[in-house]
Amino acid sequence: MILRQNRLKYRIVPFPEYRKYIYRKRLFIATLVMVCLVSFFSSVSIGTVTIPYSEVIKTLLGLSGSPRFQNIITNIRLPNALAALIAGSGLAISGAVMQSVIRNPLGSPFTLGISQAGAFGAAVAIIFAGSGVMQSTQAGAITVTNPFITIGWAFFMCVLSALIIVLIAKFYSTNPEVIVLCGVALGAAFSAGTMFLQYFADDVQLAAIVFWSFGDVGRADWTEVSIMAIVVVPGTLFFILNRWNYNAIEAGDETARGLGVRVEWVRILGMIVASLITAVIVSFLGIIAFVGLISPHMVRRFVGDDYRFVIPASCLSGAALLLVSDIAARIMLKPHVLPVAVLTSFIGAPLFLYLLLSKRIK
């Protein structure tokens, strides 16, 4: 049946160039691991109160240190840093997979309207479900008094948006262009819905809606970090297991089918998992733009379109990007802390333009 060993004698030839090529990609991923580690420790260390790295390491290792620093690290900095790490990875990996399954470089939670759906859900909760009463904190910022209702609604809308796209893909067409255009249409519809609600909202509700839409990792506590991890970690493993399928789809649907890939299922399952990851992150942290779009494009420049490397590299670069942005957001206007989404958009937009103009995006 197959070209058996006795039919075709393989001459094992050396392939040093290919080894070097793979080595360079692995080196890039190792560098990203280092960048992530440094960013993570810096994220725990840097802020309104600067904590020495020695104290950070002591606390993380469970050794005795300053109780004040321990308190700040355990209750504020560590959940923030972990939220940035997990959310950055999750958004980037979702973007990378969406770009593959819809075969469009603009694939990201934004393009498919999932983020906009989350914002609409939060607006609905604030106006109709009574979670929009604001209170001032000591720092002068405002917080949503009933975050769980807001998160619940945002999550519901994110899932609904993803579900509409998946159902269209399942019953109408898995054509990538159809999926992207549906996402654009849904995004526009949810944005219009949010604007409609904002128009009729009172001052406090309007402030609450706008506040929620600023994505911020500072909102996450240990419960939220744990829930995000429970979704993002298995999702990442799922994507890694499907890396050959995504590579096959990159070669074209017909070729992929010829290689035994059930293209429609890979596309639909990829969309479901990527949407679920995005929905959880957007619901807990708000809209964080550009990480899902920019990170996969940045790493493709170094590792090409090979999903054996794009997935882990996107994961790490997304985490590093969000960690660094969060650090910058904390120190730029010290003692005020900016929402990280402002920074990701500031960094992301010009970076995306640079990649586009330097023809790094297909």
Partner: protein, 250 residues
């Protein structure tokens, strides 16, 4: 031995694209599907490896019904080269390595790499090994796609117009390589083509399709100018040049 029995395909109810087609191909045979545009050549090819599920019919290989096998299993038996292939930002080596997908578990092995190297050498692609496939010419990309199907180690090759983007030398090179591999390894190749002269030169069996039906099938010698004229609607003559049949439109 490949047996295709009573295959029928329709995209819409009552509109048959393929109508009760049957043919067989033995080991070491090259079967060429010929016919005018829209005759159903590509549809037949896609039905054989279940990319397109036929409404009726059976495809047997080594006495097993291929159409009832899981997609991954079919990919181990049949290597398919599509008419159109995407060229991404990946190396030629990786593009060919993708052909090992049906055989790879969690991780590629040194044997997979060795097989890729071997095929690249066999097709004369070793100088392009590290080139990105989006920097290749149409012909080079076609060769890479054929190499990918070879490295899949199938028993049957299904090649949809494999010479369409190639210059004359490369067309001959590719067809010689396909013939060598098929004959040496007792495999079967089913190829769609438009070039009648190359088809007559390389085919062990020619199947002429017209409007979703098999109009004629047999060796090159059994296909007469009258049959070709009826299928293509053009008067042709078949002359012999150095023992090779040459089809000339009148």
């Amino acid at each position: 031995m490949l047996n295709v029995k009573n295959i029928s395909v329709s995209y819409r109810k009552g509109e048959l694209i393929l109508d009760d087609l049957s043919f067989s191909a033995g080991e070491g045979n090259i079967v060429v599907l010929l016919g005018p545009n829209g005759a159903g050549k590509t549809t037949l090819l896609r039905s054989i490896n279940a990319i397109l599920k036929p409404q009726k019919g059976v495809v047997e290989f080594e006495n097993q019904n291929v159409l009832k096998m899981p997609a991954g299993q079919i990919a181990k038996i049949m290597g398919y080269v599509a008419q159109r292939n995407n060229a991404g930002n990946t190396s030629v080596f990786d593009a060919v390595l993708l052909g090992r997908k049906p055989h790879v578990g969690l991780k590629t092995s040194p044997t997979d790499f060795a097989k890729v190297s071997h095929i690249l050498q066999q097709l004369g692609l070793e100088s392009l090994t590290m080139r990105k496939i989006n920097q290749l010419s149409g012909g080079e990309l076609q060769k890479v796609c054929i190499a990918r199907a070879f490295v899949q180690e199938p028993g049957i090759f299904l090649l949809d117009e494999p010479t369409s983007n190639l210059d004359l030398k490369n067309q001959l090179d590719i067809l010689h390589t396909i013939r060598d591999i098929v004959k040496k390894n007792s495999l079967t190749a089913v190829i769609t083509m438009h070039n009648l002269n190359l088809a007559f030169r390389f085919a062990d069996k020619i199947i002429l399709l017209n409007k979703g039906k098999i109009f004629a099938q047999g060796t090159a010698e059994s296909i007469t100018p009258e049959i070709l004229s009826q299928v293509y609607g053009v008067q042709v003559e078949i002359i012999s040049h150095n023992g090779n049949p040459v089809i000339v439109p009148v």
